[in-house]
């Protein structure tokens, strides 16, 4: 089991992500600098962490999405390698065209930093199979640009194809149809604004996020 965390200038949740991956797999992930044009051979799982890559210049995730390493991430995703983007990682995945839609400034204009309620909208995916359908879970968010936007036809398609993984169960950021996390059409790329890596350890007071890593990485081992 080889996991990798992509590190951009301005990533700040990369080490939290590494701790979560190490706890789930028993092995430290490779930390891959964004200028690398290749991932370590036989990488089984890729995580794009939260943070403020390139200071959110131009648009959140816009610069990072054009980093050299993203061609390798795109190629791996096309081969079916699971890719998880959290917060800024989700923004990078939409900017890179690996997920539909865009993440805009929160509707209330405030930076939102608290633990929020989510419902599991699809528990049939690689990442969500440890949850019950419709289960209420709690995961922290910390973002300024988490307001998910896509046109109505795209939203209808995402919902029709079961590609909404998580929804907010409370008002958070104005996201279209309360979408908190979406999957790509093949189901191996998940982007989500909430931080599962911040709900992994007993000391976090909540381990709802650990089940995401257990499901996704457990499936790869098995």
């Amino acid at each position: 089991m080889k996991t990798a965390v992509i590190v951009f200038p301005g990533s700040n949740c990369d080490r939290d992500m590494a701790v979560a991956l190490a706890a789930a797999t028993g092995k430290a992930p490779a930390m891959v600098w964004h200028r690398n044009s290749e991932l370590p051979p036989q990488t089984d799982f890729i995580a794009l962490p939260g943070g403020f890559s390139y200071g959110d210049y131009l648009r959140s995730g816009a610069m990072a999405a054009r980093s050299p390493v993203m061609d390798a991430v795109r190629a791996a995703a096309a081969r079916g390698v699971p890719v998880l983007g959290v917060c800024n990682g989700f923004q990078v995945l939409t900017e890179a065209g690996l997920l539909p839609g865009a993440l805009m400034r929160n509707a209330g204009l405030n930076f939102v930093c608290r633990t929020v309620g989510l419902t599991v909208a699809n528990n049939q995916s690689l990442f969500t199979s440890s949850y019950a359908a419709g289960e209420a879970i709690r995961i922290p968010v910390a973002h300024h640009d988490g307001n998910y936007f896509a046109d109505a036809a795209t939203l209808d398609r995402l919902e029709g194809e079961g590609r909404v993984a998580f929804r907010y169960s409370e008002a958070v950021n104005g996201s279209a149809r309360d979408i908190a996390g979406v999957l790509n059409d093949a189901g191996n790329v998940l982007g989500m604004m909430p931080h599962p890596e911040r709900a992994c350890d007993p000391a976090h007071g909540n381990q709802d996020g650990a089940r995401l890593f257990a499901a996704a990485l457990g499936a790869l081992v098995g």
């Binding site: 539909p100 865009a102 936007f149 104005g174």
Partner: protein
């Protein structure tokens, strides 16, 4: 050669920043402001002879996110 690029939110895309600016203008007592939309202005200094095709690619690939934004290229 200077090139001006205007990046604006597509019609119908909610603009919370524009709305906040609108609200602030009203707070300052400016009446009759019907709507405010905020965008981005980018000035490029490019080699003479840079083609429209190249400028368009710069906008489509990086300067604008065409999921939510339109762009307009002006050669002043």
């Amino acid at each position: 050669m200077k090139i001006h690029v205007y990046v604006t939110l597509k019609p119908g895309v909610l603009d919370p920043q524009g709305r906040a600016i609108h609200h602030a203008l009203e707070g300052l007592g400016f009446a009759g402001v019907n709507d405010v939309r905020a965008g981005r202005f980018i000035e490029l200094d490019v080699a003479d002879g840079t083609t429209d095709v190249a400028l368009d690619a710069m906008c489509a690939k990086l300067l604008a996110n065409t999921v939510i934004e339109n762009y307009r290229i002006v050669r002043p």
